[in-house]
Symmetry: C2
Subunit: 337 residues, 2 copies
């Protein structure tokens, strides 16, 4: 079973949503009614040593921050504001208290910066190594939630920020390559301590300009495939328009990586992926500027299904490659195919 | 650092509760306002292979049920009804799909039986073993939440059901001792598939008879010490009154265990521990009968601090033993002292 099959199996067993639930399994967050005007958004993410982080090069304070960021990112991706955090900590007996102190400080500092409160959780011994699970509860007005399912043919596909930086950072860190230049430092930071696009997501939700939205955690190829499936549409991506790819060339040369593959399959970008009607173009560019983040159109929603990457050949003409679900999946090998 | 120190450290960093929060770290659940008349109760618990369960003798369907029960138990312990469940699943690549199918079926069946819905979560690879974290959200009327902090000197201390059965079951299972008699089957089931006292907790909360309440997960000695600390009181327990101890004698003989130690330090009973004014005695016994569960007075809340076990000596006279926090702690060895 791969990750999607596990989720689909358990969603089928969980049964149909009932009236208490506005959205169950299958989006960035579950959505439940809070009161007459507001909903709660609920999300949960686990970080496991050796899978999501490597203590050899991940400073504990940054790891604590990242644990919060990857969770609040899901809240922002539905247009909400994070409010409350629950934390389950699994550590081996005899863990280093100073490591834990730094981790906890990073985590609680990040909670404060995102405007949310740590309110409870669990503490267990974990012979399996370090493992951290967070649940974040966010809030927004009932009519402002942005789901994955709203994309329509003709929508423009947008991403915030740059793609592939986290993957480049991870590959450089694994090889101990000195962050000699500013770009490398940025890549390092994007892996070690990504910043969730909560303000942007909240403003996009409030703007009413966005049809569908999610965060980029498993890579554009996989995440856009999820969005397309939920919306019953397909997508055309223009390889040439993917933001950040040219900045990756030197890091790719040093590590034997592929900048385009990092951008579409790398995962952990924690940027926002969203679609909007073409007439929203200039207002979206303005909104990005107000948040200090570039927003880039990268393709178009089409009738049908699947995600197609369109590449202009240097010799003229173009090639089209099916790339749906070629990002990160925990239960299969990484290479797409 | 032990478990309490970890929690106190992180609670101090998290900072003081703010107006959004009715109760933060330090009770069975965090409590937040839902609407004018209701609160949400939030709890999170992790189960880790080799710590909380052993796949050699834990059938996956019962493990799925237990994962739900240990979480909804915290909701019941504050007088609430469980509503929504989030699940994070960590499994090694190449896990057995039929094992997972049985686990997921047990988990979703238990959700339905407790009246709650599985609404989301996360799925990750966990190279070193199975790990499951659940967050449960419950609801109750604002004035009906029962905290750990309400115990007053003179209150009677009560427990539901029997103590030590889960520990007896675990010791028998570890040794592969055949469940030849009905009592052993009960002990097995109490470890493998405990039933949370949600209906009882909800009715106790609604009755207005209960001053303080929590569930017994780490053993009476530790859990009662938590309740006393939160309430600023001490407790006297009568060894002779602990329910179920005599039923444990044969299992203890076969495994080299101590029935009284299992009852006060065993953990995983998932019974309710609560205090009430003495005049509520007969109404509580009635309420237990209505729920089909014996409720037993086991001691008295006193001025001061700590938990004292009072044992009548066979030769006459009595001995008093300080037992606070002599239950299960993940980060120290099991034996009290």
């Amino acid at each position: 079973m791969n990750e999607r099959q596990i989720i689909e199996y358990i969603a089928a067993l969980a049964g149909p949503d009932d009236a208490r639930l506005l959205k169950g399994i299958g989006d960035d967050c579950a959505v439940i009614q809070k009161d007459g005007n507001h909903v709660w958004l609920l999300t949960m993410d686990t970080l496991i040593e050796g899978v999501h982080f490597d203590c050899a090069f991940h400073p504990p304070e940054k790891l604590g921050r990242k644990a919060v960021s990857v969770n609040v990112s899901d809240i922002g991706a539905m247009g909400g504001k994070p409010m409350f955090v629950l934390l389950s900590v699994g550590m081996p007996k005899g863990f280093d208290p100073s490591w834990f102190h730094d981790f906890a400080r990073g985590l609680t500092d990040a909670c404060r910066e995102y405007g949310c409160l740590l309110i409870g959780g669990d503490t267990v011994a974990s012979p399996l190594g370090l493992t951290f699970t967070l649940t974040v509860i966010g809030e927004t007005a009932t009519g402002r939630v942005v789901y994955r399912s709203g994309a329509r043919p003709g929508d423009t596909i947008w991403v915030s920020g740059s793609l592939g930086f986290a993957n480049a950072g991870l590959e450089l860190l694994r090889r101990g390559i000195d962050p000699g230049n500013a770009a490398f430092k940025l890549f390092y930071e994007q892996h070690l301590n990504p910043r969730a696009r909560v303000e942007l997501g909240s403003r996009l939700g409030a703007s009413g300009l966005v049809q569908a939205m999610m965060d980029l955690s498993d890579g554009l190829a996989t995440d856009l495939a999820h969005l397309c499936k939920q919306s019953g549409v397909g997508a055309h991506l223009l390889a040439h328009d993917l933001p950040g790819v040219t900045a990756l060339v030197e890091a790719a040369r040093l590590t034997g990586g592929d900048p385009e593959q990092w951008a579409i399959g790398g995962g952990e970008d924690y940027e926002l992926l969203f679609t909007a009607r073409p007439e929203a173009h200039s207002r979206l560019l303005d909104l990005g500027r107000q948040c200090g983040l570039p927003l880039t159109p990268v393709g178009t929603v089409v009738e049908g299904e699947g995600v197609t990457l369109i590449r202009q050949r240097p010799e003229g003409g173009r090639e089209e490659i099916a790339i749906a679900y070629q990002g990160f999946d925990h239960f299969r090998n990484r290479a797409g195919g």
